[in-house]
Symmetry: C2
Amino acid sequence: MEILKGACIIGQSGGPTAVINASAQGVIQTALKHTTITKVYGAANGIKGILADKLYDMDLEDAKELNLLQYTPSSALGSCRYKLANADEDETDYQRILEVFKKYDVRYFFYNGGNDSMDTCNKISKFMQKVGYDCRIIGVPKTIDNDLYGTDHCPGFASAAKYIATSCMELYQDARVYDTGTVVVVEIMGRHAGWLTAAAGLATNAGSGPDLIYLPESIFDMDKFLQDVERVYKEQGNCLVAVSEGIHYEDGTFVSEAKTSASDGFGHAQLGGLAATLANIVKEKLDVKVRGIELSLLQRCAAHLASETDRKEAYMAGQVAVEAATDGATDKMVAFDCMRNESGYECKPVLIDLTAVANVEKKVPLEWINDEGNGITQDFINYALPLIQGDVIPPNENSLPRFANLNKVQAK
Amino acid sequence: MEILKGACIIGQSGGPTAVINASAQGVIQTALKHTTITKVYGAANGIKGILADKLYDMDLEDAKELNLLQYTPSSALGSCRYKLANADEDETDYQRILEVFKKYDVRYFFYNGGNDSMDTCNKISKFMQKVGYDCRIIGVPKTIDNDLYGTDHCPGFASAAKYIATSCMELYQDARVYDTGTVVVVEIMGRHAGWLTAAAGLATNAGSGPDLIYLPESIFDMDKFLQDVERVYKEQGNCLVAVSEGIHYEDGTFVSEAKTSASDGFGHAQLGGLAATLANIVKEKLDVKVRGIELSLLQRCAAHLASETDRKEAYMAGQVAVEAATDGATDKMVAFDCMRNESGYECKPVLIDLTAVANVEKKVPLEWINDEGNGITQDFINYALPLIQGDVIPPNENSLPRFANLNKVQAK
């Protein structure tokens, strides 16, 4: 294997998670002590920071603060949502990236993100190969949506799942406290893949969770939904429902966006989100007390409820990316190959081709959704439960979290 | 002091909290081992359970499950919102309560709740005195709203405050992650008193919290609000706002309910709640990316983030109620007398007259709100910070909470 000396850049992209900074920490700490990596830069707001020549010098960070990254939610280097044009149509961005790479002698590029970010990573990788610029490029997976192809799961998912399950357990206790019943609808992130909404089923499995769960992998039928809610409410006097933000009718229209639907005749305004919309429809049709709750950003930044398994794996993904790259790997994404059996759970990092990952969405298998389309099966529980194990004990000051404070000194 | 032998009833009322069950546990465990208390009953759904002769026999509960109450959010015995008529206008309910008390030889009644519950407690106490039925009646304070008169603070407030502060700290990290800015509006409970919204200031004090905070104690001015947001957004590129659900215009109209307001000319629909409404107004006027987040029930049931100080004090309130009653006290509420100085924080339970407490609302002192009416002062921090100290480590199974499972065997 040829030794490649040079600088590295770590960039973060897409929606943040509770542990994406643990991956960044894994990259940064591993790179800082690696002899073939001469310099470690953090890109301000992902690829946009590279295009703008705005890089932070990670050598100038305090080691203690870097170590707090693993307990700090959101993307400490800043994030972006920026889609690169195809290089064969417009090379402008790529030429600029090459220019910046050359300026700082960047020979290692680590990009930490989800589907779109792996697309970016893949495109840059292919371009650098085409122009013959020697640069090892590795994607570090991240997404609460858990929809990356080729990996058992994605760092960030388990912590959000744990937050969702715990919150649903608490809500279940709260929402059935009065002698007069209530229907509570909880809206959970995941526009195309229902992994996070399925995580609400971990609460149900623990005896205190949603009675009904609707994923975007199933077609949503408003009449069936109202029948389900009415049945549960009649049986129990209360009903807790978890819905994915991405539930949609047979014609593909999102329930959250449908003004009126020919198939069910319900007209509802968009303002206030899906949870409020569904709650209002239930109130109108069943004449019961309702409440809509949207977990919103809370579910992706709840570092205080992060899964220790997730934190460790997120760090490992960053560490493995650097080790693999310095060992010669490029054009890959770090993925997880996992075993679940009687003797426990095991997670092994592997490398897969960026081309295979980019722009492919992995959804919840239909066999993991019950026949009624309003709940999940034991298969999902077996899959997800090992991932949320262990509690992160984040450092605190005055019993509130102590997050990392980076200097972010811009490189010259 | 005369020894009074007989049974006791504990009832829970009003909105639940993360630690109201700790108070119930304090009452139940103390009463179960007390020799003058012959029997311990839990009222199903507070006073409504007494009216319906639906009492649970607490002697039949498993000791281990009872011990889990302190980690279980919501009201384990069930709650109600039921206002008793004035006894001089309609004695029906009171006669029924007396009948049930006599049936079970109830000589001790502990009622765990907020303002309305203390009103109920007070009315029953005065009626029993009037008819000469010997029964010792003590109110056990509870409310996340922290608005009970005569006590330094209320059990339940600190745990909700800690959840709000921690969540705001996380949201602050998340909401400024992109290079394109966002205005995030977080809606917090407290219709008339701003204690919980002020708790968002603990996050700001920790360096990661709302830029602007609006309490219901100040008059809300939409133009001023938009100016504030615009200024912060221009300075920082982002803006995090915390608002109380109870903010209102000068004429007393709640912002959440105002369809149109003559004073500011803004028309906005109610659907979707205050956070969404304000976010939409900001979007319309300032043309920036916005998001409205309502903490909703999450803030009152987040046992996983409970304050250890709060849990201990909540338990103590229940314990002291039983000890005081068996010592002869009646017609009182347990209150906290607290000291904060260089040597730390000290909380001493005291008893105050129910009459003094019932129906009085304690609000955030106006001196604790800044001159601009968009933030809180150090006085509030000094007041609230000691209350959120210490982390409850709730027992768990498979890294999810393990809540109490009561048998709830109905007494005959």
